[in-house]
Symmetry: C2
Subunit: 102 residues, 2 copies
Amino acid sequence: MNKPKTHIFVCTSSRPNGQQKGHCHTKNGVEIMMKFVEEIEERELGGEVFVTNTGCFGICEKGPIVVVYPDNIWYGSVSVNDVEEIMEEHIEGGTPVKRLEI
Amino acid sequence: MNKPKTHIFVCTSSRPNGQQKGHCHTKNGVEIMMKFVEEIEERELGGEVFVTNTGCFGICEKGPIVVVYPDNIWYGSVSVNDVEEIMEEHIEGGTPVKRLEI
C-alpha cells in the first residue's frame, strides 16, 4: 500500500463505546480535523499526508490534541485557526510549531 | 510531556459525525483495541507504549487495521488472536509481523 509520509491524528473524543464526548470534541476537535482535510486537499498533499480522527490521548486538559507521526510531535490547545500554520510551517516546511508543542 | 516510544492506532470505525459504524468496528475493532490495552498493562509497558482508537483509515477492505508509529507499519485483517504476536514480535521484539503487513 501507499504509506503516508506524514500522518496527522486529531482527537475528536471518539470513545470506543461509540460515544463522542470529551474536552477535544467540545473544543472543536471535529472542525480542526475537517480543516486539516481541507488544507491537505488545497495543497494537493492527499497522497502523502493523511489525517485521522481519534479517541482520547489521555491528556484532555491540554486539548485539543493533534499528534503528527512519524515525527512524534504533540500539539496542545490547538484551534481551527492554528491549522494553516501547522500545515505551512511543519507539514510543508519541516519545522514544528514550537508555541503549540506540549 | 512523556511521549510514547511506540504508538499503536486501532481503527474502531469512529466517524467524526459521532457514529461508530464500519468494517473494522464490525470485525471486532473495539475488542482488538481492548486486547492491546490489556497486553500493554500485563507487560508493564504503559509508560512507553500508547494505544489509541481511531476513525477510518480509508482502506476498509483490508480491515481491521492497526497502525504502529513511528515505525509506519500497517497491519490488515487483524484479529484479537493476533494481538499477542504483534506485542511479542514487533512491540517488544522489534520485528514487525510480516504475515499481517499490508
